[in-house]
């Protein structure tokens, strides 16, 4: 709507704004953040350089991993990372949105406060604690109560065959628990940011609670919830320790969700301190680099989505 008006060079108003020294100072300090990011990437590139020059792009779809012969490929790691993450999201998304809807409801602030606190504490628990819990409690339980029964009932479906204690499914499950708070917190905020007026209007038009939620509130929050999902995906992709402890550490592309696998971060965590030579650690760093680039892209997409929603919410307000 702003028609461009020929902006004459401000000869009439000579540089009249005094310099803001404070601004320059805090801006410089703040610049450390992007600087660190750049330095991280550059350092990793430098460390991974031998591997990059040695393997090239083929590294991404090679699936061998043999330190003895110095043959390294990222595919099983990439697969494991993506598989566990999507599994986690598939499990967490419906629950997360439901919790967010419940939390965003007004009233019963005490109960909702407790639920909300609970969900946030879920995020506060250190990943290594999830790891030890998943290793000793969750993994045996899923094996016994999910892996085996499912396999017995659906023996012909390969996807559910050969259950093991540690594997993709257990890792996905623990990841789901770990990303649930991210998903819930952002979704709740996005749903809360939906102008109250929308809900009131819908109710005043004679819509039921569910019709209001499903047809008015969730569509308004759609982009934001999607953004939250992607952000959760980013978290899941980068999660290391808990997954490392329950994934089973098998550098293969498993044929069943109950089979052991490996993720990029788990390989690094497990093998980096023992890696010797030039190519081996460089390959591990390269895995890290791949991981960082994937999460970078995913995160940026998610951030743009979340931001556009909050802007939209402001417009609708």
């Amino acid at each position: 709507m702003a028609t461009a008006v020929d902006a004459r060079p401000s000869s009439a108003a000579p540089a009249s704004k005094p310099r803001d020294g404070f601004r320059v100072f805090v801006a410089l300090v703040a610049t450390l953040v992007p600087l660190v990011l750049v330095v991280i990437v550059l350092t990793l590139v430098q460390q991974a350089w031998p591997a990059i020059t040695h393997f090239g792009v083929g590294f991404l779809w090679a699936s061998d991993w043999n330190p003895v012969t110095d043959t390294f490929g990222a595919l099983p790691g990439i697969f494991g990372t993506i598989a566990t993450s999507f599994l986690a999201l598939a499990l967490a998304l419906p629950v997360g949105v439901a919790v967010a809807v419940v939390l965003a409801e007004p009233g019963h602030t005490n109960i909702r406060g407790v639920i909300g606190t609970g969900i946030e504490l879920l995020a506060a628990i250190p990943s290594v604690v999830y790891g030890i819990w998943a290793l000793y409690v969750l993994a045996p339980w899923t094996y016994e109560h999910i892996g085996v029964p499912v396999n017995t009932r659906l023996p012909t479906v390969g996807l559910f065959s050969d259950p093991a204690e540690r594997g993709l499914f257990t890792a996905g499950l623990v990841l789901a628990v770990m990303v649930l708070p991210t998903l819930t917190a952002i979704s709740r905020d996005v749903i809360r940011a939906v102008p109250r007026g929308l809900k009131e209007n819908s109710v005043a038009l004679g819509a039921t609670w569910w019709e209001t939620t499903w047809k008015v509130i969730l569509p308004s929050a759609r982009a934001g919830i999607f953004g939250a999902t992607i952000l959760a995906l980013g978290r899941a992709l980068g999660e290391t320790i808990a997954v490392t402890m329950v994934i089973g550490n098998a550098y293969v592309i498993p044929h069943s969700v109950f089979q052991p696998a490996y993720t990029l971060s788990a390989i690094i965590a497990n093998e980096f301190t023992e890696a010797t030579g030039t190519l081996y650690p460089a390959a591990l760093v390269l895995l890290g680099l791949v991981l960082i680039l994937v999460t970078l892209v995913v995160n940026i997409v998610a951030l743009l989505l979340v931001r556009s929603t909050s802007r939209e919410a402001r417009l609708t307000a």
Binding site: G21, V26, V33, G96, I115, V129, L231, L284
Partner: protein
């Protein structure tokens, strides 16, 4: 009429389903807390648990691991996280002020994006970076390198929560200050920052809690140690390392030790979290009044 009845019924059903899902979401929290307490408490109540002078109760084929308590890990976590905080909090707060006060400046958008990306960066990668940056040149692991890794982790959290807290302060406060003829830096540091203080503190506490629970960045930096170490230039044990390493060993006594360490860790982190939530509530209440 029956249509409206149907609509009402559908609405009621979906409401119930949502509440059921909510309860389901809280189950893991209960389980984690329950098992950590149940399995960790026996170790923790042992008088020597916090002092690494004696081995825990141990079955016959216990390996000769000296100083298997967690005292050195607690001290280590304190030192590592402390140094990380000293680095990250001042920078983060100033950066956050920049982000909030100069929200519309183009550069702040880049800084904001970088912070968000940094928050989402896998911690293992940050560990790798710290390793390459500080361990390789000095040729040995050190608490310093762990602190730097944790600081990198904390920095964006502090910056973004500071920004959030400062942004909660209504713009009117800023404009009112400036309109009184006060210079920008006074308004930001002497008016806005004090008003946002609870929120800023919350951010710092959350960052500390997060850093205290991190394992991955310490694997190749602080590395871990079996003895009490006060020199940050040397490898140092930390609680998450204890949990991670002992949990994966096949010895029951060390696994018990890991559970105990997990309990200590969880209590610490949750305590910080609850405190920060209290502080945050004050901030929100205050901002609501302004």
């Amino acid at each position: 009429m029956s249509r409206n009845l149907r609509r009402r019924y559908a609405s009621w059903t979906s409401l119930v389903v949502m509440y059921v899902l909510t309860v389901l979401a809280l189950v893991p929290l209960g389980l984690v807390l329950w098992f950590t307490v149940a399995k960790g408490l026996p170790s923790v109540i042992h008088p020597q648990f916090f002092f690494n002078s004696e081995l825990p109760p141990c079955e016959p084929k216990c390996p000769a691991v000296s100083n298997a308590g967690v005292g050195h890990a607690i001290v280590g976590t304190g030192i590592i996280v402390g140094i990380a905080s000293l680095i990250a909090i001042p920078i983060g707060v100033l950066g956050g002020i920049f982000l909030a006060e100069y929200r519309i400046a183009r550069w702040s958008n880049w800084v904001r994006l970088a912070s968000d990306v940094l928050v989402g960066t896998p911690s293992i990668a940050i560990g790798l970076f710290a390793y390459a940056f500080l361990v390789v040149p000095f040729h040995h692991f050190s608490a310093y390198s762990g602190s730097v890794a944790l600081a990198v982790l904390m920095l964006p959290i502090v910056a973004r929560t500071t920004e959030g807290a400062v942004s909660l302060i209504p713009n009117g406060l800023r404009e009112s200050g400036l309109a009184l003829g006060l210079p920008r830096w006074r308004v930001s540091l002497q008016l806005i920052l004090p008003a946002a203080a609870p929120g800023v503190i919350t951010g710092a506490l959350l960052a500390v809690a997060r850093a205290a629970g991190e394992t991955a960045p310490l694997l190749f930096t602080a590395f871990g140690a079996h003895i009490l170490e006060w020199d940050p230039g040397m490898p140092m044990q930390a609680l998450p390392l204890t949990v991670y390493k002992y949990a994966l060993l096949p010895y029951k006594s060390l696994q018990a030790q890991a559970w105990g360490a997990a309990l200590v860790l969880i209590v610490m982190v949750l305590a910080i979290n609850l405190v920060s939530r209290y502080v945050l509530r004050r901030q929100i209440a205050l901002a609501g009044q302004l």
